[in-house]
């Protein structure tokens, strides 16, 4: 035995500590046997926030190098995560694309093929699967699937709107909460929905949560709040050379409701987008304030892109890049390697559901068409799909033909129903898709392989 007093003291303390530890352990065991939830209260699975915007196209982000749009909070999200610069939707239209996000399936499979065919209540959503494993879940915002509002299985809080065919209104939009209509709490819808989202996130809980926050912004009528109104006045909008203000009146575009100068609409779109960014900033701030940012997956995506005169078009639907390409950012500090990078792999709206399930440790159902992007989050060089299927179905009275297309890293081949001839573009050489390679020697060489890919994908194959 040592004569060192410190040493003796240490040993005596150790004995006391040992007694305390044993006593504590016995007490904990006794408590645990009576109240097991107290001992294992904290579920360390990640929280999930999926933020979906409307008509936000891929290049309208500060972090994508846009010349004037201000999106500091989306950029902040990208700096802490991965910005997917090659993200697409498999159908460029609100309702079908939303169906794809929430089910992980193509539109031809989940059944919402356009803005008319109703949502099928037998569809399984990732929210339902998360709920089955103990997640607290909320769907807040734009549902906008045709048919009656569903009794969404697996959703604890369902807050949405039905006015204007489910599109909602930018100002004073009544909400449907648990099946009852209530007036808006805040006049501007983006802020109102964000308030509900923050209420949900801030709730004291033992379970992890999943929030599906679907904004109306930045859909037509592009109304900004007073704080951002006029902020892009005088800015050179840099609209494409083929754009002119009358595109909104021509070739059936009048149905998109953009009467008036396109410049004006585009400025308002940008202002509504910056307002959306500010509200996303509030969500991120709340996660920081609650100290849960590191263990929360935040995914931001747009439901489809938007033409501002490119190809002499407005709106979306067509299979060109401006329409099918969307912003897509994933932040999950505890998981992502090399945050702040851009990933060039072609990710899709149908990948969101399997990704969320995968990262929550839930087996991805075989019926889902998408793939988990988790490997890309871990490894920038992860191998990935080589091609994917784009599909668009008739949406009366909009005058866009049904079509199927295959998009590879380099090419896009489109087959239309009706009188419009097939198109083939080399995206690498011709990113604005101005030169149709069909009936050229190069096109004749490439087309058979792409057509075979398209047929394989239509049969349900993965490439």
């Amino acid at each position: 035995m040592s004569n060192d007093p410190l040493s003796r003291q240490d040993k005596s303390v150790t004995r006391r500590q040992a007694i305390k530890t044993i006593g504590g352990a016995l007490a904990a065991t006794a408590l645990a046997s009576s109240f097991p939830n107290l001992l294992f209260a904290r579920d360390k699975r990640p929280n999930i926030i999926f933020i979906l915007s409307d008509d936000h196209r891929w290049d309208m982000l500060g972090s994508m190098g846009h010349p004037f749009i201000q999106t500091p909070h989306m950029d902040r999200l990208a700096e802490g995560g991965v910005l997917f610069s090659n993200a697409f939707v498999t159908t460029s239209l609100c309702s079908p694309s939303r169906g794809c996000f929430i089910t992980g399936q193509y539109a031809h499979k989940h059944g919402v093929k356009n803005n008319i065919t109703p949502w099928n209540d037998s569809n399984i959503t990732f929210l339902e699967l998360l709920k089955q494993t103990g997640y607290d879940t909320a769907f807040i915002g734009k549902w906008h699937m045709p048919g009656k509002l569903p009794e969404l299985r697996g959703v604890d809080d369902f807050i949405t709107f039905t006015v204007q065919g489910g599109q909602g209104r930018y100002y004073n939009c009544p909400l449907i909460i648990d099946g009852r209509e209530v007036p808006s709490r805040k006049p501007y819808i983006t802020e109102d929905l964000t308030d509900y989202a923050l209420d949900f996130v801030s709730q004291k809980r033992d379970n992890p949560f999943c929030l599906y926050l679907a904004h109306k912004a930045v859909h037509h009528q592009f109304l900004p709040p007073p704080e951002t109104k006029g902020m892009y006045k005088g800015v050179d909008l840099n609209l494409p050379p083929e754009s002119d203000p009358w595109i909104t009146w021509s070739r059936g575009s009048i149905w998109y409701g953009l009467l008036g100068p396109m410049d004006l609409h585009f400025r308002m779109y940008c202002e509504a987008l910056t307002a959306l960014d500010q509200q996303i900033g509030r969500v991120l701030d709340k996660l920081d304030e609650l100290g849960i940012a590191d263990n929360t997956i935040v995914i931001y995506a747009g439901d489809n892109g938007y033409f501002w005169g490119e190809h002499h078009l407005v709106d979306k639907r067509w299979p060109y890049e401006e329409s099918i390409r969307v912003p897509f950012i994933v932040r999950y500090p505890e998981y992502i390697r090399h945050p702040g990078r851009k990933a060039g792999q072609m990710v899709l709206n149908i990948d969101v559901a399997p990704t969320i399930l995968d990262m929550a440790g839930i087996a991805v159902p075989s019926g889902m068409d998408g793939m988990s992007i988790a490997p890309i989050l871990k490894n920038p060089d992860a191998s990935w799909r080589k091609a994917w299927l784009y599909e668009y179905f008739k949406d009366y009275p909009y005058q866009v033909p049904e079509m199927f297309a295959v998009r590879t890293d380099r090419h896009k081949y489109i087959e239309y129903q009706g009188r419009k001839k097939a198109e083939l573009f080399d995206i690498a050489k011709d990113p604005r898709e101005m030169q149709n390679l069909m009936n050229t020697p190069e096109g004749e060489r490439i087309q058979p392989g792409l057509k075979k890919m398209l047929e394989d994908l239509k049969q349900g194959g993965r490439l």
Partner: protein, 193 residues
């Protein structure tokens, strides 16, 4: 209406019906072709100017054609019925062209239903309003020219103008046109879904 028959000599069918309609149709066709070719102009400012100009002319020829056709037909001796159908020829041909275009995307019955969309209805209600206005202006001019004590303002042209104003509000201004669009779509769903 009888004023025309008593004071204006009735010209040939071609002069009083075909030519006024054809003027509007030719303007419509030319402006359409110019608008859709404007993108080929390399100079951006010239492209903008040509597309603006041709689009405005095209829009006027579709929406305001009766303001030309109706008075010309009037002063060439057309009766009321002739003036009306002469004024309707350009929008009907435009509608027919649109139906051919959309038939690429829709079934035959859907294409027929497309006739009843709010924009088409507005074009025709608007045409009747413009015919009413033209009728009043033509009568006023005839009265000044002949000095005969005919009534300028009567119920039918005024009714047509009022109908057009109400139509403009209901189809284009009320909810920015969205409400009528959804009514049209509810009809579509009831018929086709």
């Amino acid at each position: 209406m009888n004023l025309v028959n008593t004071t204006i000599q009735k010209t040939s069918y071609t002069r009083r019906i075909v030519i006024p309609s054809a003027i509007v149709l030719v303007v419509m066709a030319l402006s359409f072709i110019v608008y859709w070719s404007a993108w080929r102009i390399d100079s951006y400012s010239l492209h903008r100017f040509v597309s603006h100009f041709s689009a405005v002319v095209l829009f006027i020829s579709i929406g305001f054609g009766p303001l030309l056709v109706y008075p010309v037909a009037y002063f060439r001796g057309s009766g009321a019925g002739e003036r009306i159908y002469a004024s309707l020829i350009p929008p009907i041909i435009w509608l027919f062209k649109e139906l051919i275009r959309v038939s690429e995307f829709f079934t035959f019955s859907e294409t027929l239903y497309f006739i009843f969309n709010p924009l088409n209805i507005m074009i025709f209600i608007g045409a009747f309003g413009l015919m009413g206005l033209s009728e009043l202006l033509c009568r006023r001019r005839m009265k000044k020219r002949t000095g005969e004590p005919e009534k300028v303002i009567t119920i039918l042209p005024v009714f047509a103008m009022c109908l057009a104003i109400v139509g403009l509000y209901v189809f284009m201004i009320w909810g920015g046109g969205v409400h009528m669009f959804y009514i049209f779509m509810e009809g579509y769903k009831a018929l086709f879904i």
